[in-house]
């Protein structure tokens, strides 16, 4: 968890404590609520699963190098399938302002494996098998956690929180890309080379502007179901990365940026909300 959030254990505990204190306020408020919203409740606690396709469509088709069975280096291209559906679970709390508007705060998490090339500063030319130092592609795990909030606005004939809505919000994503460099190590050892690089972890953060629409259904007096579609647009990291740079050090940034775009551009949300 520390790695994920990149915070110390002390900071983590502090955050958990703050959340608990906040929830203590929420419960009594909720019990006496006589307000707009579903049967007079102001607060809802929900879980949501955002399904997103991580499509090759949004990923650069980068060449990478692998070792063939006979020990030669061969060029291959990205392994992203066109649609690689993934789940991004989240926990949220929603506050009903009035019969048309509510604010939702959430925490989301997802992890996935990506093909990340560690370095690529040596160009391999076809026909002239000039073999120089290179760092082959690693299949590495990427974790992301995001915090954010969004406003939900309910349609003309719909009463918060049941019915059609559209939403707009912001998300702050912290991403961690951890390299194991196993391939490199294997190759270096096979060539009698020296393994001289430590495992490398790339961290990046992004601010995402999200907007979407959906519909909420009351399953019972205590449970709501949500079905929606959300579109996200990275505002920071993605646009600052030089997509054409040949600098191998730029590659991790590029990888995470592409991944962010893939994970946020289109999400189909399915959620349940408990109304205490």
């Amino acid at each position: 968890m520390n790695l994920l959030l990149n915070i110390s254990k002390k900071e983590w505990n502090k955050s958990v404590f703050t959340a608990l204190v906040a929830s203590l306020f929420i419960i009594p408020l909720n019990l006496n609520a006589q307000a707009p919203g579903f049967l007079g409740k102001r607060f809802m606690i929900g879980i949501e699963a955002s399904t997103f396709a991580n499509p090759g469509l949004f990923q650069e088709k980068m060449p990478y190098y692998t070792l063939s069975s006979n020990g030669n280096i061969q060029t291959d291209y990205d392994k992203y399938s066109t649609f690689n559906f993934r789940i991004k679970p989240s926990v949220n709390i929603e506050y009903v302002f009035n019969r048309k508007t509510s604010l939702q705060a959430f925490v989301k998490y997802y992890s996935k494996s990506v093909d990340a090339e560690t370095y690529r500063d040596t160009i391999h030319e076809y026909g002239e098998a000039v073999l120089t130092d290179f760092y082959p592609t690693e299949r590495v795990k990427m974790n992301a956690i995001s915090f954010g909030g969004k406003f939900k606005f309910f349609g003309r004939n719909h009463i918060n929180p049941v019915g059609s809505y559209w939403s707009v919000g912001m998300e702050y994503v912290l991403q961690t890309l951890a390299y194991s460099d196993d391939n490199f190590q294997a190759y270096a050892i096979s060539k009698g080379g020296v393994f001289n690089r430590n495992p490398y972890a790339s961290k990046s953060s992004n601010l995402i502007l999200t907007t979407g629409f959906g519909k909420q259904y009351a399953v019972s007096h205590k449970l709501l179901m949500n079905l929606g579609l959300e579109v996200g647009l990275p505002l920071t990291n993605y646009w600052s990365v030089d997509k054409n740079s040949q600098d191998p050090k730029a590659y991790p940034d590029r990888t995470t940026a592409n991944d962010i775009l893939g994970a946020y551009i289109i999400n189909i949300n399915l959620g349940l909300a408990l109304i205490p």
Partner: protein, 744 residues
């Protein structure tokens, strides 16, 4: 026993009609509420099917018939416009007993109910209910005629004509059995032909029943006269302006037609597209039977007095209904006839005050035709009434209404409704025409040409009945003054000695007119329109965000409605499911209101038990109030039944009554092919494509109107169309939102 009952009926009617407390409260149901009114339709259908099949296989057509028939009849029974054990129904039941005494085969399960309707009609259902409209009673001339009508209806029941007609219509519609080769264009003809066959049978066999009684057979012919002239009012006497003249003034003869359209009706019309044979055929067939039968009998057996009392009650009821429905020309003529017949009864005068008031308000909002109708095609003396109300201009009509109601106020000083009318009329005069008391003439100016002196005065020759008068085709001559004082209405108050009172009244009128909240324009968004423009903007914004905060503790929900429609099918209304949901939803309304801390009481047939006759009459009254209110819109802030309404408010402890309903409709989806192609082509859209193709389009419509029945104000109006299914969660959310806005 019958004699005692008749005396009782007469007494009850006389106390109602001739009471000097100037109140006529309409027909009231009495005694225990019959099962017909409270039993679930679904249960009635099950019982009817069980009795019909008794172990045999269900007949699909008959099952459908039971469903349609029971739901149709129950819709009427639950409308509040049907009376049971009332004075009219009780009297008609006595006549039925008289017929049964001579015809022992008549089933005992026949029930008589009266429908409060001005339409001349009576009909029977397959359950054994005979409905008699007050409009028919108002037109009949004697008990023997009523007896023949009953005999005719009894035959419809005993011969099972209602079901027979339905089965035949189904065969015709589906081109089965004898109708296999029928063309679509001939289906209507075939259906009406069969209906005429049954009517002829009812006439024939009904006449047989009738001839077994001691009633006068000659009166059968009279019934056909009643039917032939049923489109005319319940009497035919010349109309003059006297009923509008209550002071030292006369209505100019410019407002009277010199020649009226003749009463022309063809007896032997082409009836090939009609459900009943034409009158000539029916009369002829009856005559053929009557020739060989006895020709003597009595016009009255139960009681002549009771008949006339019942007919008077029916006529007053017709007048009351015409007022509620805003049918003012017909109402004025009814009031005129009743005034002639009962000169000491104050009710016709009170009705005239209401008619002039209502006509003025509609004329001021440029919608007079809606309540006066068109005069050109009218026949007989009633045309004169249509013409008068049409021709008097809005301002003059308002002044006339003011004068007439001023007269009523002097006569009935305790009547609060008349006082309110005067205030509203003075308000309209200031608001629309900038006319106040200073414009009126209170003293006759000498040398002023008296141009309004001649009015159309006709002599009413005493003849026996409406039908004699029609047949005599007498014409009335009249003279007409050529000159016309355009400002005649300003002279209406001459010699009334009311200058100071009117000054005071117009002060109030000016204040009301100045009130910025007051908006006279007719609009659909009445709730907003009751506010000034600045208030409207702020109110709309607040309403959207937070809803209203009405601070009302208790409301009465009147007969909540629920309908489930499947528009993919020809017979779209799912009746059984709708009724189930309607009943289940009643509990939800109460639960949700409780959550919103709102005290809610539901007034509906489903909640009545047999002893709730007071609640049933309240239900009937509030429905009539609603009819009148929807007709008047926001032109006035009270209705004619204001005093009765006050009793209702006291009884229920609130002045807030609400009407609500839910309609869930399933539509066929359009463009299925395009969606299928697009979704499958795009791959990502496949789930949506499957969803689109597999599920129908559903929409839920919720309406809710909350009225303050004391002031007539529309306190809250909601109309929501939601593209979702009518799940409990959805309805609970919306009703919580509505109830919460009312309570908080």
């Amino acid at each position: 026993m019958r004699y005692i009952l008749s005396i009782f009926i007469c007494f009850a009617l006389l106390t109602t009609l001739n009471a000097q407390n100037n109140k006529y409260t309409g027909l009231k149901s009495k005694g225990e509420i019959p099962d017909d009114f409270t039993k679930l339709t679904l249960k009635k259908i099950e019982e009817a099917q069980a009795a019909a099949t008794s172990g045999r296989k269900k007949d699909k057509t008959k099952s459908k018939f039971y469903e349609i028939s029971n739901f149709g009849v129950d819709e009427l029974l639950q409308s509040g416009s049907v009376c049971f054990n009332d004075t009219i129904s009780s009297y008609v039941e006595n006549v039925l007993e008289e017929i049964r005494a001579k015809n022992k085969s008549i089933p005992l399960d026949i029930r008589i109910y009266t429908i409060k309707s001005p339409v001349v009609n009576a009909f029977t259902t397959d359950q054994g209910i005979i409905f008699i409209n007050t409009g028919l009673l108002a037109q009949l001339e004697n008990e023997a005629q009523l007896a023949f009508v009953l005999c005719h209806e009894i035959i419809h029941y005993t011969e099972g004509h209602v079901m027979e007609g339905f089965i035949e219509d189904t065969k015709i519609e589906n081109a089965k059995d004898d109708y296999r080769r029928i063309k679509n264009v001939d289906k209507e003809l075939a259906s009406t032909r069969f209906s005429r066959k049954m009517e002829t049978e009812a006439d024939k066999k009904g006449l047989e029943l009738f001839l077994n009684t001691d009633y006068n057979p000659a009166e059968v012919d009279g019934v056909f006269d009643v039917l032939l002239y049923s489109y005319l009012p319940f009497d035919e006497i010349p109309f003059d302006s006297s009923i509008l003249e209550v002071g030292n003034y006369q209505i100019p003869d410019k407002y009277f037609l010199e020649e009226l359209n003749e009463i022309e009706v063809e007896e032997d019309i082409d009836d090939s597209r009609q459900t009943h044979p034409n009158i000539a055929k029916r009369r002829k067939k009856a005559d053929n039977i009557l020739i060989s039968e006895k020709q003597t009998g009595k016009d009255f057996i139960v009681s002549e007095e009771a008949f006339y009392s019942v007919r008077a009650a029916a006529r007053y009821e017709v007048l009351r209904l015409q007022l509620i429905n805003g049918n003012y020309s017909e109402a004025l003529y009814s009031a005129y006839i009743l005034k002639k017949e009962y000169p000491d009864n104050p009710l016709p005068e009170l009705a005239v005050g209401e008619i002039l008031y209502g006509t003025a308000l509609f004329a001021n909002t440029k919608n007079k035709k809606k309540v006066t109708g068109y005069y050109k095609k009218k026949q007989g003396n009633v045309q004169q009434v249509y013409y008068v109300l049409n021709k008097i201009k809005a301002k003059d009509m308002t002044l006339l209404a003011l004068r007439y109601n001023y007269y009523l106020q002097e006569k009935f000083p305790e009547n609060e409704v008349i006082k309110k009318r005067l205030e509203t009329l003075s308000r309209d005069l200031v608001y629309y025409y900038e006319v106040d008391d200073s414009d009126l003439n209170f003293v006759k100016i000498e040398n002023q040409k008296d141009t309004s002196s001649v009015t159309k005065k006709t002599t009413v020759k005493k003849v026996s009945s409406k039908y004699d008068r029609i047949k005599s085709k007498k014409s009335n001559g009249s003279s007409k003054e050529n000159t016309f004082n355009k400002k005649w209405a300003y002279d209406l108050f001459i010699d009334c000695n009311c200058e100071s009172e009117l000054e005071e009244l117009f002060e109030k009128g000016k204040k009301l007119s100045d009130d910025k909240k007051y908006q006279l324009a007719e609009t659909d968004d009445e709730e907003l329109n009751q506010k000034s423009l600045d208030e409207q903007k702020a109110y709309a914004k607040e309403k959207r965000k937070h809803g209203r905060s009405l601070g009302i503790d208790k409301i009465i929900l009147v007969d909540p409605y629920y309908a489930i429609l499947n528009l993919n099918k020809k017979d779209a209304l799912k009746r059984v499911k709708s009724e189930k949901e309607e009943v289940e939803q009643l509990t939800s309304y109460e639960d949700i209101a409780k959550m919103a801390n709102l005290d809610l009481e539901i007034l509906t047939n489903y909640r009545f038990n047999s002893t709730d006759v007071q609640r049933y009459n309240d239900f009937s009254l509030i429905n009539e109030w609603a009819n009148e209110r929807f007709m008047m819109k926001n032109r006035t802030d009270f209705t004619s039944s204001a005093e009765e309404v006050q009793d209702l408010i006291d009884r229920y402890g609130t002045e807030y009554f609400a009407w609500t309903g839910v309609v869930n409709a399933t539509y066929p989806r359009s463009g299925k092919l395009y969606v299928a192609l697009l979704s499958f082509y795009s791959i990502v859209g496949i789930p949506y494509g499957i969803y689109y193709l597999a599920t129908p389009k559903t929409e839920t419509y919720i309406y809710f109107s909350l009225f303050n029945i004391k002031t007539g104000e529309l306190v809250m109006y909601e109309s929501r169309s939601i593209n979702m299914k009518d799940s409990n969660g959805l309805l609970d959310t919306h009703y919580y939102d509505i109830f919460n806005q009312i309570k908080k």
